[in-house]
Structure formats: C-alpha cells, structure tokens
Symmetry: C2
Subunit: 295 residues, 2 copies
Amino acid sequence: MVKVGYLGPAGTYSHQAAQQEFSGAELIPQKSIGACFESMHKAEVDYAVVPFENSTNGQVVFTYDLLRDWFMKCGDSTPTPKFKVVGECFVSIHHSLIGFQPDLSKITKVYSHPQVWGQCSSFLEGLNVERIDTSSTSRAVELVAQSPLVEQNEIAAIGSSAASKLHSVPVVVPSVEDNTSNTTRFLVLGTKDEISQTSIDVRDRITLLSFVLKHFNDMGSLSHVLDVFARHKVNLVSITTRPAKLLKWQYVFFLECVTGGDASQLDPVYSELGEFTEELRIMGWFPRSVDYAGK
Amino acid sequence: MVKVGYLGPAGTYSHQAAQQEFSGAELIPQKSIGACFESMHKAEVDYAVVPFENSTNGQVVFTYDLLRDWFMKCGDSTPTPKFKVVGECFVSIHHSLIGFQPDLSKITKVYSHPQVWGQCSSFLEGLNVERIDTSSTSRAVELVAQSPLVEQNEIAAIGSSAASKLHSVPVVVPSVEDNTSNTTRFLVLGTKDEISQTSIDVRDRITLLSFVLKHFNDMGSLSHVLDVFARHKVNLVSITTRPAKLLKWQYVFFLECVTGGDASQLDPVYSELGEFTEELRIMGWFPRSVDYAGK
C-alpha cells in the first residue's frame, strides 16, 4: 500500500490534503514539516504532503526554508535529497472556534497553530484573549478536549471541523477566517515522477526552481534572470525570496513557471541562467492541479 | 521634544532601535506594529520605528501587510497615509534564555515573541519545552518576573539582555540565536523627509516601492518591470511578495532600489512602469544606513 506522510496529528489541514490527494493510501502522521522531509529521504514513506503557501497568509516559511536546506548546498555537505516535488494540491481552509464555552466573553485563552492567527485577525481582534501556539490546529483542539473541566470554561481552540469531530469538542463559531475563500496550497514530495495516471500531456505543468544570484548586490542580475524566461516565452507565475543563511541580506529566490507537457522547453532557459545564478536547482516539475483556479 | 513610537513595552529590540536612532527623543511604547502606524497617521508621534526583516528569519510579515494595507488602495476607501518611510536602522539581535531556573532539563515552558522561534531553532531543539507566544520579547521576560515562585521553577523566556536588566531576571544562557550575526532591519516612518542632518548627497539612497502586476497571471510582465530598472541602470537590492488579498494567488510586489542623492533619476523609471503595473506606490526614499554592511 502506498504510504503518505503528512504534518500530524490526524485532523489537521495537512491530513485533509493527504486524504484528498491519496485515497486508499496509508496516511502516516509526522511530528513536524521537517520530519516529513526526513521520512521522504529515509524512504519511510512514498510521498509526503507539506503546506507551501496560504492565499491570505502567504509563505509557509518552514517549508521554504526546508526546501532551501535540502536542495541548496550553500557550501555545506548535506546529502543530495532522494526526493523532489512531484505535485501540488489545494485545500479550502475554514477555521472554527472550537470549545465547550459558548460565551465568548468568558474565554481567556485560545490555542492554535501560529499560521492561523494571521488568517483570523478580524475575529481575534474582537476577543480579549491570550493566543497560545500549538504544533498543529488538531493538537489545539485536543488540548481543549483534555483540559480539566474548570479550565475548559476559559479556553478554546481554532481549528478544522474535522478536528472538532475527531476530538468531540463542539464548534462554537464556524468560519472565523478573515477571507472565506482562504485556501492553502500543498506540495507533494515524492521519488517517482508522477502521482496519478491522468493524461498529463494536455495539462499545464509547473516547474519550481531556486537559485542565488551570482552578484547579489547587483540586482540588475535578477532582471537578466527574468529576461531569460521572457525571451523564451516561459510564463513565470510566482517569485519569492528567503534569507540565504550564508551571507546577511543575501536571498534565495524561488521561482515557478508554467509550461506544457514538454520538459525540453526549459532546456535553453537553464543553459542561459548559469551566467547569472549559482546553485540553480530544479526542485520539481509537476502538473498544475485542476483545483488551482477553482478552490 | 521629538516623539518616537516603537513596538513596546520597554526592553524590546524595537526599543533598542528607537534608542539607537533617536537619542534624546521621547520614546513612546505602542501595543502593536499596527498601533505604530495608527499613531503616525494620527500625528501622535513624529516618527515610528517598525521591524521589517531579520537576516535569519526573513520578512516581518505584519509590517509588510501593514505597508500594503496603508499604501495600496486595493479598491477600498482607506485614507491616504500622512506618513512615509523616511529611514532604516539595523540592530544586532542577541537572544538570551532568561529565567530563575538554571537547570535546563527542569524548564517545561518558554515564552517569547513568535518571530524568535525561527531564530533560535537549534537551541530550542535541544530543549523539551512548550513554546508560548507573547506580544514581545520584553513581555515574555516580564511574565517570568511576575510568575508565582512555584511556576518560576518551570519557565523561562527568550529575549534581550536589556529586558533581563529591566525586569531583574537573570540570563541563564546568553546568545542562543542560531546565527550570531543575526540582525534586524527596522524602518523609520515619519512625515518629514529627513531624520538627520548628515550630508545626504554623497550617500546611497533606498527607494521602497510596491505594486501589483497589471496581468498577474502573465508574469512576463514582471520581467518587463525589472527590465525597466535595468535599462535605466538602477540597482535593485531586494524583491519580495505578499498576498494581494483581493484575488487569490495575486501578489503585491515590494521592491527596493539604490540610487545616489538625485531623486529625479527614477522619474523615467516610474513613467515607464505604468504600462505593466497597477497601484504603483513610492513608500519611501531614504538614506542607506551606514550600518547596512557593518551590523
């Protein structure tokens, strides 16, 4: 049976992503996003699903930095990863306030994953509560479920309706997210090229690549890089940066571009990029999810 | 006396930045980064100091999103801000583990600002503790100071040595940050053009601007934007994105470029950018800090 790692415990949005993408697989919860990468590298799982960006909150920086640390040598002797990015999937994120206390004015503490605060800022502004970070939204709900009765009178969690059901804690307020079209995009890590049998030739494919600029204080070079894509009529769909760690204020760039089913379309791009970039890494080449526009 | 707002309470790194940049001014703590922007707009302060990026941890997303919300109309009727970005400053960030419990194995909870976890990940990996978010590093240390004795046996905070002194809680482990050259860059908001009398003509100046792409799914247009800078020999030093909030997967771009003392150098750039961008905003034009390379 296919094994799929995800950021556990059960009831997280990552769990939902894994269920959505891999029906009938054995879903194996991991302790952290880092552990998802580790378990891929050790071949303990066939795939892993990791959160990548949220339509409201932006980058999931942990994942970006793990991609950087695994794929960019940056001078040190990390092993070459035995996996790459083989897919993406989209999950609609609806957060609920979950707890046993229906009177919001009596709630003093709210538990949730740190990524959630920025997605529910309007709702949270109206509450006078302390925010307490947990390792996942599901763990937040579990903490409410396991609290002594006297504490349950003062606390709540923000999480998914799946976590509410899993831990038998009622939803107090549904849809507390700022933006109801709030969506998280997940990446699928794997060692095989394809995750499904859909006819990929007719679909758009995403290439995810990263690099550092050769002369990073002379960012005319970024313009040169992007110009290479433009001249070869390759459509860039996102660009973002993270600190490169080696030198202060040097950045790792992450770019995504869309092509059709022919990988060789990018060959001339790669050969020209060498002049302006160092450590150019192709981290993945995978089908654009049909849910991209819809979710 | 000049009034300067900063992310309070006293003892935060923002406090340190304000002290460093404005000697002899009245420093007024604010409850949040958002409150720093608000107090500028209401002219309750002459300047405000806000954290912008950290050399290890990257973007301070709260500040980026506040800049977006204040400067980009994005269709709604927010008032035009009465301030802009008038300066930058750099603060070396050294985090300490602060508390009354010298035996690390007995510590079960650590308080700190969420931005800190990513900067101390190696140290934290070695501890078996729950991480609890606080509104600032100084507040984290204050919580330890104010805890009942029995609780002080199990908790600690991560914060600055200034906060340790302010709240009279000893440093248990100094320099727990992953990277000892860890630096935070702050922006100075203000209504006046210049924050100091230094001869600015000979110094590099930074222009901070933001925009959304006209055809955001056709990112050839980003290449066109950057090409405008390259053709006019304007040196870009950073580019980054945040979600635009209006449309899913549409981004607001933040660009910084360096010029000399002559602002008109950018006039042809701005006039050509209109073809590819919407809501182009110049959020600031300010001297490059002498500490840029050094700190």
